[in-house]
């Protein structure tokens, strides 16, 4: 395993990137991005077998990842850049005209690391299942990962996909839900409660694990456990508890920072809580 401290440093740097990108664009989604930084860093720097230097759309012979809740693009872009998919300097173009870093992830501009456009919610699980089925047809033993918002799974297509993944025994696939209980209009439990999520996914025929998405050791251990349970005829779901806005005290404990950029002063205050580690872009 990579040094735990270095992974935590990467996650902190990514949190700085998120604040600076959203501030720079005066637009974007910091809350969920901050909450998922540990997951992304663990996935791209510890868990996945992938090839940042030679990105291929087909992803044959490597693990592939899909971000279904595309609005948390800042955390993904930062992670991809820090993993070597493209120059970190390009993070400064986020959400600006002629950028490859679109507001929501897109393939049209050819940004390495992105295999599917996302943003309109509920579509990424179906796509991930398709990619996993292609891997099986190709005799490719690598895995498919995806991330979803908890509010996102209010979309019906998610449950169509859930049913089909179990039916087709898509056991080379590990999905994760960012279970922060926040969505645009308030707490998920108030807007449209999800009930007993663990029981739901188990009832749909999935291996279901839980983890603290803001505890790097737990994230790595749980993702590794999920990997060890692939190939057994069932898809895997990780219910990942996170804190929206993690790492910036005034962005935590509220849904208010779902899609709001910080002011100049708020940016400075946020960055003062996130020490620069491996260097700003």
């Amino acid at each position: 395993m990579a040094n735990l401290t270095s992974l935590k440093d990467l996650a902190t740097q990514t949190r700085r990137d998120i604040i600076r990108m959203v501030h720079g664009a005066k637009s974007g989604h910091p809350g969920g991005s901050l909450g998922c930084a540990d997951y992304f860093i663990a996935l791209y720097h510890e868990i996945m077998e992938h090839n940042p230097q030679h990105f291929s759309m087909d992803g044959i012979g490597e693990d592939v990842f899909f971000l279904s809740n595309g609005h948390i693009s800042p955390v993904w872009y930062s992670t991809l850049a820090r993993a070597g998919y493209f120059d970190v300097a390009e993070l400064a173009t986020f959400r600006k005209l002629n950028s490859r870093l679109q507001g929501h992830p897109a393939t049209e501009e050819g940004l390495p690391g992105i295999r599917m456009s996302s943003g309109s919610l509920g579509q990424g699980m179906s796509v991930a299942i398709g990619a996993a089925l292609a891997k099986k047809l190709n005799g490719d033993d690598k895995l498919v990962y995806s991330l979803h918002g908890d509010g996102e799974i209010q979309e019906g297509q998610i449950w169509e996909a859930a049913m089909s993944a179990a039916h087709h025994k898509v056991d080379n696939y590990i999905a994760t839900i960012d279970y922060n209980n926040r969505q645009i209009d308030g707490d998920v439990s108030d807007v449209m409660s999800l009930g007993n999520l663990k029981a739901k996914w188990e009832a749909f025929g999935w291996i279901t694990l839980e983890m603290n998405g803001n505890d790097m050791e737990d994230v790595i251990a749980t993702l590794q456990k999920a990997k060890s349970m692939t190939g057994q005829g069932k898809p895997s779901m990780i219910l990942m508890t996170t804190e929206m806005g993690q790492g910036v005290d005034f962005m935590m404990g509220t849904h208010a920072w779902h899609g709001v950029p910080p002011s100049d002063e708020q940016k400075e205050l946020a960055l003062s809580q996130l020490a620069e580690t491996i260097g700003d872009y």
């Binding site: 759309m57 087909d58 992803g59 044959i60 592939v64 899909f66 897109a106 393939t107 049209e108 295999r115 599917m116 456009s117 996302s118 943003g119 309109s120 509920g122 579509q123 990424g124 699980m125 179906s126 796509v127 991930a128 299942i129 398709g130 990619a131 996993a132 089925l133 292609a134 891997k135 047809l137 190709n138 490719d140 019906g156 297509q157 169509e160 996909a161 049913m163 089909s164 039916h167 087709h168």
Partner: protein, 317 residues
């Protein structure tokens, strides 16, 4: 008027099924998905021959479109199969984001398009699908006219890299195009050269346009008839060249006038060569239950309607 011989009467969906079966044997990377309509889409032969490459997704069309998009990542060429209504309107956002915007090599194959679906009625008789699909950037839209052409189109789209909407239908219709035809995406087919009026048509209306041409010839009007199997990209050169010669035009299609082939032709001619134009198509109403031919008559899509429209355009010159 050139003579065309009906080889037999066959449904265009069977042309799709036959084309898909051949693709299954010829191309290892062709896969197929169906949303609980395998028999209706004539996908059984592919399913029987290649069960490992056939994915039944149940009554879940949105999921089907997403899985198809995902299968392209890994180099597959997915063909999705369901009714035209559930292939377009029901899953528009999935097609828009996961297929068209993401530039995925998915072939959306749609049967039971239009009024000729018949007795099931307006819930299933989509007449807006061409418009929906042609508005999407990156999307190719194809509506072949008979069994042989649908089979040829099915095979041709596997060689086109990018999303395609292939529209076909339920009833048995005259099969008259050559069995060994070379299907060229985006290339109009000249069915009859004439000087007095251009009839531009697609899908099930192509044979009716030929019948109309024969009637017009008997009445002394020399019609040029063009089969536009590819609505997007549109063969504007063939259209403009013809209308420059005839100086009037009729379009005929089993679709709403709004959003259909006629609208695309009108846009082209407005810019390149304005001319008197008439539209044979559905006039902003929903269909209803009935036999296909009864519906085509009631909603203004019969041979007689094409004849009358052609004369009207001709008299407006």
């Amino acid at each position: 008027m050139k003579k065309y011989t009906i080889q037999n009467e066959k449904d265009t969906r069977s042309g799709f099924g036959a084309g898909l079966a051949e693709l299954g044997k010829e191309k290892e990377n062709v896969v197929a998905l169906c949303a609980d309509l395998t028999g209706s889409l004539k996908m059984n032969e592919f399913q029987d021959n290649h069960p490992e490459r056939f994915f039944q997704v149940g009554v879940a069309e949105a999921n089907m479109m997403g899985i198809a998009a995902g299968l392209t990542i890994g180099g597959k060429i997915p063909f999705t199969g369901t009714f035209a209504n559930f292939s377009t309107g029901r899953v528009y956002d999935q097609i828009r984001q996961s297929i068209a915007y993401s530039e995925k090599n998915v072939k959306i194959c749609a049967s039971h398009a239009g009024l000729t679906l018949g007795e099931d009625g307006a819930t299933h008789q989509i007449l807006e699908d061409i418009g929906l699909m042609k508005m999407l950037p990156n999307m190719v839209v194809i509506n072949p006219c008979d069994y042989n052409q649908t089979k040829a189109a099915t095979k041709a789209i596997a060689n086109h890299v990018g999303p395609v909407y292939l529209r076909f239908g339920r009833p048995k219709v005259p099969n008259f195009t050559p069995e060994d035809q070379n299907f060229e995406i985006g290339k109009a087919v000249m069915l009859n050269e004439g000087n007095d009026v251009t009839i531009i048509t697609t899908g099930h209306l192509v044979w009716k346009a030929i019948e109309a041409g024969q009637i017009l010839a008997e009445q002394g009007i020399d019609a040029e008839i063009i089969n536009i199997h590819t609505i997007k990209p549109l063969d504007t050169e063939a259209i403009v060249n013809s209308v420059r010669k005839t100086r009037c035009v009729v379009t005929a299609e089993e679709h709403q006038i709004s959003g259909g082939l006629g609208e695309s032709v009108a846009q082209c001619l407005a810019q390149e060569n304005p001319a008197p134009m008439e539209f044979v198509g559905v006039k902003d109403v929903f269909g209803e239950s009935g036999k296909p031919e009864e519906l085509m008559e009631k909603y203004g899509l019969s041979t007689t309607h094409i004849v009358e429209a052609a004369k009207k355009a001709y008299n407006r010159k």
